[in-house]
């Protein structure tokens, strides 16, 4: 797929926004300003940004417990996300969801999900809905290597294949499911391999190369949009932080993390490419990063200054017709 100069700059900016957002969340969590559980996706930016970059605003995504990046990449605003993570009333879900449960239905973000594998069947339903309504929307469901072992994955992929539903299953294989290495837990060599069993395309990408991801996902999205059915796209990636903030990470070595950071960092790699191609100078990139950092600071300030919910608001939103 052709990616223009401006699109390339936008890809880098979005990856930087996600990185800075996540780093800030981590910091605020350790300052005990963010309650609950927090799962960060630092290191996985190319997979997420490349995938969402080929979606239209009216397309759907479903995210996971590690969902901030997906939601940002689909166009959500950092300030309402911070507010949600703080449990403030101005958050996307009025403080009812928190880090693990952010949604913006107006942008096709059908929600992050705290139940691993909870999103697959729901996206099947969105796929039927798209077909029945006769639109050419596409649904993209993000999931981890670990989630590919839930029965819901296999049921949903099979059903999507049987009915040629317009769904792209994007696996962000970061090599671990909590403490468990994918190489021990995923039979058959890869998640993408499983596509063959269901007679649909399965692609494996270098998940730290944003353009490679973008090209591969574009094909899958195009196929879905044209009515040819679902695909599985597996992006090989890596999370730098623990499974959750506070994870002791006995299942891997600091050296392994360092290796990824030094040799496969998606942002560093793309920056180098843009400079080599003469698309941006280091100075421009630094200025862009400073601008994004300032936006993040503003967003945090908005969240900090926002009020907590009135406790009684807990009783609202249960039913449409109580």
């Amino acid at each position: 797929m052709k990616t223009s100069t401006n699109e390339k700059k936008a890809l880098l900016r979005k990856m930087v926004e996600i990185r800075l957002f996540e780093e800030k969340i981590g910091l605020l969590f350790h300052q005990q300003l963010i309650p609950g559980f927090v799962h960060l996706s630092i290191g996985q930016e190319a997979s997420t940004v490349g995938s969402c970059s080929v979606l239209r605003p009216d397309d759907y995504i479903i995210s996971t417990h590690r969902g901030h990046a997906h939601i940002l990449a689909k166009g959500a605003e950092p300030k309402y996300m911070f507010a949600e993570c703080f449990g403030k009333v101005t958050g996307y879900c009025k403080g009812k969801g928190g880090s693990m449960h952010i949604a913006d239905f107006s942008k096709g973000i059908l929600g992050a999900n705290g139940v691993v594998g909870g999103g697959f069947p729901i996206m099947t339903g969105a796929g039927f809905s798209i077909k029945l309504r006769g639109t050419d929307q596409v649904g993209m469901v993000f999931f981890g290597d670990g989630a590919s072992n839930r029965g819901t994955f296999h049921e949903a992929v099979n059903m999507a294949a049987v009915f040629k539903l317009p769904i792209v299953f994007v696996c962000e294989n970061n090599r671990y499911a909590s403490t468990s290495p994918a190489e021990k837990m995923v039979a058959g060599g890869s998640v993408a391999n499983r596509a063959h069993a269901y007679g649909i395309p399965g692609a494996i990408n270098d998940g730290s190369n944003v353009l490679a991801v973008r090209d591969s996902v574009a094909e899958a999205v195009d196929r879905a949009r044209k009515g040819y059915g679902p695909s599985i796209v597996e992006n090989e990636t890596y999370r730098y932080k623990g499974h959750f903030e506070g994870d002791r990470q006995r299942y891997r070595t600091p050296d392994e993390i360092q290796q990824y950071r030094l040799t496969r960092d998606p942002i560093d790699r793309f920056e180098t490419l843009l400079i080599d191609e003469g698309i941006a100078t280091q100075k421009e990139i630094d200025a862009m990063k400073a601008a994004v950092a300032a936006e993040i600071e503003d967003a945090v300030k908005f969240a900090m200054d926002s009020p907590l919910p009135d406790p009684h608001e807990a009783m609202q939103d249960l039913f449409v017709n109580p």
Binding site: K88, G114, G146, T179, A314
Partner: protein, 326 residues
């Protein structure tokens, strides 16, 4: 007998160690058990001692719970780690239609000596999908025993009893109590299923409770005592089988009762207790039985709302005064 102060997670690890040493058919199956000794440190030290009997699986709850059923049917004593109690929903067929029914449906031919261990409860700002108390669902299904301990000593003794029991036991342990410490004796004792514990003796009202709410009730009882109300606290410890004799003895004495649990009041175990006491002890009652539990919404994330939804000490105090009409 030597007594140590142990946390619930250490008490749990000790129970598991004793039972795994005693019986080689006991094994543990679930997700992320080995590294870090489980997500709550509840298996600390065990993977080194029993490397073949602590099995880390893929994220496949349906198969994990089903595997527990199959292994129990064929001579093993599995302990199934549900990771979070909320995820029982991903294996409800295995629990409700298989585990609970196999023995009865096949005319008593089989036995299912298994424990489904599930950390439950809120208070960690973990929001709607990681905070539930679902014990009453399982009390409602014939064929399952349900355990809800509060103290470290009971975690140890009841878990050992659950492992040795020949029937399926759903063992809920509250997440906020993992670090709760209490005296635990060094011997290899057992706390039998189906026996409640009187935690405080009182004459004016019976407070029936379990799990984390036991601690809230103790605090409420201290406040009530200052107002001249002496509450008797019964920690039920197991809901199925239920120690109704201990309940009846107390209610006959105090003539009043409240029920306190963290699960939603509506449709919760408190309704069952209230109905049973009314049916069997009506002539002893001098007032209505009051239920105290969570408000009827999924658990909201924001700490201020979570606090509001959960029953608090002041709600228990108010509930007791309502029951006593003073």
């Amino acid at each position: 007998m030597a007594v140590r102060e142990l946390s619930c997670s250490l008490a749990m690890a000790e129970a598991l160690k004793e039972e795994m040493e005693r019986d080689t058919t006991v094994f543990i199956i679930g997700e992320d058990l080995v590294s870090n000794g489980g997500i709550f440190g509840q298996f600390r030290g065990l993977p080194e001692l029993f490397p073949d009997r602590i099995i880390d699986t893929p994220i496949s709850e349906t198969a994990i719970v089903g595997a527990g059923v199959g292994a129990a049917l064929t001579g093993m004593r599995p302990i199934i780690d549900m990771h979070f109690a909320d995820f029982v929903t991903t294996a409800m067929d295995e629990i409700v239609n298989q585990m609970a029914k196999i023995r009865y449906m096949f005319g008593g031919q089989a036995k299912l000596p298994l424990v489904l261990w599930a950390p439950d409860g809120s208070g960690l700002n973990a929001a709607a999908q990681h905070s539930q108390c679902l014990e009453n669902w399982f009390v409602h299904v014939p064929g399952l025993k349900v355990v809800v301990p509060s103290e470290p000593a009971d975690v140890k003794g009841l878990l050992k009893a659950a492992i040795r029991d020949d029937d399926p036991v759903i063992f809920f342990q509250h997440k906020k109590l993992f670090n709760q410490t209490g005296p635990v004796t060094e011997d290899k004792y057992i706390v039998p299923l189906g026996k409640a514990a009187v935690r405080r003796v009182g004459t004016d009202i019976t407070i029936l409770t379990y799990s984390r709410m036991t601690y809230f009730c103790k605090e409420a009882a201290r406040e009530l005592a200052q107002k001249g109300i002496q509450a008797e606290i019964i920690d039920l410890r197991t809901l199925m089988p239920l120690d109704f004799a201990t309940i009846a003895e107390s209610v006959k004495k105090t003539r009043h009762a409240v029920v306190v649990h963290e699960a939603c009041t509506t449709g919760g175990f408190g309704g069952e207790l209230s109905a049973r006491i009314t049916e069997e002890l009506f002539e002893y009652l001098d007032g209505p039985i009051v239920r105290i539990g969570a408000r009827h919404v999924p658990m909201p994330f924001s700490p201020v709302m979570e606090h509001y939804v959960l029953p608090q000490v002041e709600d228990i105090v108010a509930g007791v005064r309502k029951a006593l009409r003073r």
